[in-house]
C-alpha cells in the first residue's frame, strides 16, 4: 500500500528533510561550480527550479501515454527543451547573468536532481503532487545554492549580492572563490546539517526512552494499540 503523505509535507520535504543537495547530494556539479556569488547561486537555483517544475508537471500529466521503455529518452528530450528555453531567454534578457553562469545553464539538462525527480516522483504521481514536489525540491535546491554562494562571496570577496559587508581591512580568502572553496564550504554545510539531524534524532529517542521509563511497559503497549 502506498503511504499517504499530506500535501504540505509533499512540498516541505524538499526544503529540509529530503533536500536535494544537503541530503540527497544530487546535482553537485553545478552547485560547486557556479556558487562563487550569491546572485549566481540564486540564478542557477531559479533556472533549475523552473525546468524542474515545468518538466515535472508535463511528465506527470503524460506519464500514462509514455511507454516505459522510452521513458528516460522522453524525459531527457522534455527537460532539454525547457533548458534551451531558459538558456535563450536568459541570453536575450539577462546577458550578464548568462555570461556568469556560462555553460552551466545548458548543463541543467543532465542535472540529476531534475531527472531524478522525474524518475522517482513525477512519473508515478498525479500532476498536483508532482507540482508541489517539484516546487519544494526547487526551493530546497535554490536555498542551498544561495547559502553556499553567500558564504563563499562573503569570505571570498567581502560582499553579498554585490553589497560590501566586511570592512576593507579583511583580506578576502581567494580560496573561497576557487573550486577548492566550494568543496570546503559544502563539506562544512553537510557536516552542520548532519549534526543537527543527528541531535534531533537523539533527543527524540531519549524522550521516548524517558516516556517508557515513566509509564512502564504495559501502558506503553496500550497507548500504541490505541494509536
Amino acid at each position: 500500500m502506498k503511504k499517504q503523505v499530506s500535501l504540505s509535507q509533499e512540498y516541505l520535504k524538499g526544503i529540509w528533510e529530503n533536500n536535494p543537495i544537503l541530503i540527497q547530494l544530487l546535482g553537485l556539479c553545478p552547485t560547486l561550480a557556479v556558487t562563487v556569488s550569491a546572485i549566481n547561486g540564486l540564478a542557477m537555483g531559479l533556472a533549475a527550479s523552473f525546468v524542474l517544475v515545468m518538466s515535472s508537471l508535463l511528465i506527470s500529466s503524460i506519464r500514462k501515454t509514455i511507454p516505459g521503455q522510452v521513458r528516460i529518452a522522453s524525459f531527457i528530450v522534455i527537460i532539454a527543451t525547457f533548458v534551451t528555453i531558459v538558456d535563450l531567454v536568459m541570453k536575450a534578457k539577462f546577458p550578464d547573468l548568462s555570461k556568469a553562469l556560462g555553460p552551466f545553464i545548458p548543463l541543467i539538462v543532465v542535472n540529476c536532481v531534475i531527472l531524478g525527480r522525474q524518475e522517482a516522483f513525477a512519473s508515478k504521481n498525479n500532476p498536483g503532487r508532482a507540482f508541489l514536489d517539484a516546487i519544494g525540491m526547487g526551493t530546497g535546491f535554490t536555498l542551498a545554492l544561495v547559502v553556499l554562494g553567500s558564504i563563499r562571496e562573503i569570505i571570498g570577496s567581502r560582499t553579498i549580492f554585490s553589497l560590501q559587508v566586511l570592512p576593507d581591512q579583511f583580506e578576502p580568502w581567494l580560496i573561497m572563490i576557487l573550486p577548492a572553496g566550494a568543496f570546503l564550504t559544502l563539506g562544512l554545510l553537510l557536516g552542520l546539517s548532519n549534526m543537527y539531524t543527528d541531535r534531533k534524532k537523539r533527543i527524540e529517542h531519549e524522550s521516548i526512552i524517558a516516556h517508557y521509563k515513566r509509564v512502564g511497559r504495559e501502558e506503553l503497549i496500550e497507548e500504541l494499540e490505541v494509536k
Binding site: 501515454t65 511507454p67 528530450v77 528555453i85 534578457k93 578576502p172 581567494l174
Partner: protein, 188 residues
C-alpha cells in the same frame, strides 16, 4: 509490434512538439541576442576609443577590427579585437589604437577564463590603465616587480605573470597583424 509503434509515436510526438516550441522561442530570442551582442561591442568600442562617435567594421581584414571616427567624422584610430591563449583558456580583448598604430588608447578584456582573484586582475583598471598612451614600437614589454621605466613597458600583476604576459603577447600579435594589413593597404 504494437509496443514498437507506440514507442515510435511517443518519441516522435515529443520531438515534434519540442522542436516547434524551440523554433518559436528562438525566433523571439534571436534578434534580442544579436542586439545584445551588438550593444556590447559598441559599448566596448567607445570605451577603448573615448573620443569615438561612429564606427565601421573592416570586413576584409581577416580578423575583427573597427575603424572609429570622432564627432567631426575624422578618422581617429581603430578598435582591434584579438584573441590568444591565456593561462587556462582563451583571452579575447579589444584595444583602441591611434591612427598611426603607434599608441594604445585603452584596453578592455572582453572574455577570459583566468583564475578568479589572480588572473582576473588583468581585467581590472589598475592593470588595464597601464596600457593608456602606451607606445607599441618596436614591441610592448612587461617587467616584473619593478615599476616600468620605458614608454613601451607595463608591470605584470604579481601572482598572475602568465596572464599578464598573455595579454601583452596578444596585443603584440594583433598590432603585428594590423601593421601587416596597413602595409598591404588594407586599412584604407
Amino acid at each position: 509490434m504494437n509496443k514498437v509503434v507506440q514507442m515510435l509515436l511517443a518519441l516522435t510526438g515529443i520531438g515534434i512538439i519540442s522542436g516547434g516550441l524551440l523554433a518559436m522561442v528562438d525566433g523571439w530570442a534571436d534578434p534580442l541576442i544579436a542586439a545584445n551582442k551588438k550593444a556590447e561591442t559598441e559599448a566596448a568600442i567607445f570605451r577603448v576609443q573615448p573620443e569615438g562617435k561612429n564606427y565601421e567594421a573592416l570586413n576584409n581584414a581577416g580578423f575583427e577590427v573597427y575603424k572609429v571616427k570622432n564627432k567631426n567624422a575624422d578618422e581617429i584610430g581603430y578598435a582591434l579585437v584579438y584573441e590568444g591563449n591565456g593561462f587556462q583558456g582563451k583571452i579575447r580583448l579589444m584595444c583602441g589604437l591611434s591612427k598611426d598604430l603607434e599608441k594604445i588608447l585603452a584596453l578592455e578584456v572582453l572574455e577570459q577564463v583566468e583564475t578568479p582573484g589572480l588572473g582576473t586582475k588583468v581585467t581590472e583598471t589598475p592593470f588595464t590603465n597601464q596600457f593608456k598612451k602606451l607606445e607599441t614600437s618596436p614591441n610592448i614589454n612587461w617587467v616584473k616587480g619593478i615599476p616600468p621605466s620605458k614608454p613601451n613597458e607595463i608591470q605584470a600583476v604579481t601572482g598572475a605573470t602568465i596572464s599578464s604576459k598573455s595579454v601583452v603577447a596578444i596585443i603584440n600579435n594583433g598590432i603585428k597583424q594590423m601593421k601587416k594589413l596597413r602595409d598591404a593597404g588594407g586599412l584604407k
